[in-house]
Assembly symmetry: C2
Homo-oligomer: 348 residues x 2
């Protein structure tokens, strides 16, 4: 049975913090050019009882900083692509989220990052999977989109492309964080299980430990162009070169000016099998559903019925925002077409 | 402007060969349990004037062998998954197609293979990308689907998973064929171009030389279960760990018992950006289109308008077959629910 946990976006914010600083310039409201953006920092079992006030504040401040960075681009008539890059770079550079600096460790003790970006105007897209020496994978995904005829580059090949295009390769040590290393050690202590038990337990533990820290952003700019981007470190203790939904166009990331832009977070395998991001667009296009109804149909019914957990953020070509997830929490925020900012963490 | 090149499947076969041997047992016709399968061996610029009679015969014989292998499984009440595996293994083991034995070479002189499989009953899926020592990548994709909670495994990680699951890793030398090596050398001679020119030319040359030899199969079994599978060696002279549409669920491969099973071949980047395989399913589901109309809308209109070339094979849950492509040829064949076999190469 699907549980509706986030059917509508309430202007009231449930963690009790309404942040509208920096959004006082309402010029855009009378410009008849709606614009706005939504970000997420991952969905999962995120409970207030397990969160210190200090850590909660850190998350809120970082989400706020990210929203401001993206919104400033849009406000100054920048592109939705530039806005999502600005917003996601800040989340990638923070150790709080499972992307960039805060990426989780693989079974081999490495960090392997995935990212994707899509331009709703042209349907161009770029993605990278399994990169180990790229500080900001979303930017590399953008270069793949803009500087190559390809969509998806992987591993050392993607890093060679990065070097040829002027991106400095960093030491893998950059991604070391004590917290992520300890998470890996905890999982490894249970390695006397069979491989398939381990892989299953890996996913379950991720869920239980609310480690779905994938980050993403969707934006509508004043030109009416939509864009979506997503960046992740994948699963703690992952093996076998596993790639999730993030770099899969249509699964974790999708944008189309005719409909909407979507970025997902959750159990990637379910998002791939359900073609989550594109399905929301298809329901809008073929069934004429509203963005929120399409998002809820896909997350609260189809994904939930299949047994998957996670959520999405989305914005349509009129500036309407939708957030839908079936977990107990999701780091998320937006600045809507009225210039109002909302940041939330828990379900309610 | 979209050009309709294959709107319907004519029972008459255009290369003048009707092969119904092995399909004389018509028991299934009265069983009210329609079943059938479709295969492809790639789409591209395939012109009769460039094809020797001998080579044409080799292609036809191999396609026939593949169809028989898959059909025998279905006839004996085997599963659609077993049928597509039987059919694709034969194409992978042939040097004629750009998959398995006949895989093209990368810029580094290696062979990096991709494959995917999807089960329409459960929406389970498995895929591998960039494997170098796997004789039959489609079989490995099936093991990923059945023996791991993951969907997509890549590179050496996927090979480690293969070994742990009893698949023998072969020497990369297995994939050496003189023809593919010469194709690589021809492309390399033009390497004084810039990287992006080279990458673009790479795609164009593939098209011009009709090297889209990706193979695929879709099937409906007597239990009413659909399945789809695709296997490829990617692009000649590819660099940067490029991955195309084949292992991307929803792009090159998709199956859903509620609608259809689809396998694609063509310029992979366009197929990813257009979420081709899932889009056909979505048009059937949300717009109640017939399989052929949905396939033509996606290939002849949407893909063509975006500038992409290639095609798809598909079968729906009633056993109807559709093939749609916007190139001058496509290696293809089917045995339909009446037990009739058709094999074609050229557009007409």
């Amino acid at each position: 049975m699907a549980i509706h946990q986030c059917r509508t976006i309430h202007i009231s914010i449930l963690i009790g913090i309404l942040l509208i600083s920096g959004c006082q310039n309402k010029q855009h409201i009378s410009s008849n050019k709606p614009f706005g953006l939504v970000i997420h920092g991952g969905a999962g079992t995120i409970l207030k009882k397990n969160m210190s006030e200090e850590l909660e504040s850190e998350y809120i401040e970082k989400l706020k900083e990210s929203l401001h960075a993206g919104y400033t681009v849009l406000e100054n008539q920048g592109s939705s692509l530039d806005a999502i890059q600005a917003a996601i770079t800040i989340l990638e550079d923070s150790p709080l989220f499972n992307a960039g600096k805060g990426a989780v460790f693989t079974n081999a003790g490495t960090n392997e990052l995935d990212a994707a970006i899509m331009d709703g105007k042209t349907l161009n897209a770029g993605a990278v999977a399994g990169v180990k020496r790229i500080k900001n994978p979303l930017y590399l995904a953008r270069l793949v989109m803009e500087k190559s005829p390809h969509v998806l580059l992987t591993g050392e090949g993607a890093e060679a492309f990065a070097e040829e295009n002027g991106i400095e390769l960093i030491s893998p040590d950059y991604f070391f964080t004590e917290q992520r290393w300890e998470q890996l050690q905890q999982l490894k202590e249970q390695q006397d299980k069979s491989v398939s038990d381990l892989m299953q337990q890996n996913i379950n533990t991720e869920s239980a430990n609310h480690l779905f820290g994938t980050v993403g952003c969707v934006a509508l700019d004043q030109e009416g162009n939509l864009a979506a981007g997503t960046s992740t470190g994948g699963l703690t203790n992952k093996r076998f070169g596993r790639v999730g939904d993030v770099p899969i166009i249509g699964a974790g990331t999708y944008a189309n000016n005719q409909t909407c832009a979507v970025s997902a977070t959750g159990e990637g395998e379910y998002f791939i099998r359900s073609v989550i991001a594109y399905d929301i667009s298809a329901l809008m296009d073929y069934r004429k559903m509203s963005l929120q109804n399409a998002a809820d149909r896909v997350i609260m019914e189809k994904l939930t019925d299949l047994g998957g957990t996670g959520g999405i953020i989305a914005i349509d070509n009129n500036g309407h925002i939708a957030i839908s997830f079936n977990t107990s929490g999701m780091y998320r925020g937006y600045i809507d077409m009225d210039g109002e900012m909302s940041i939330k963490i828990y379900k309610y």
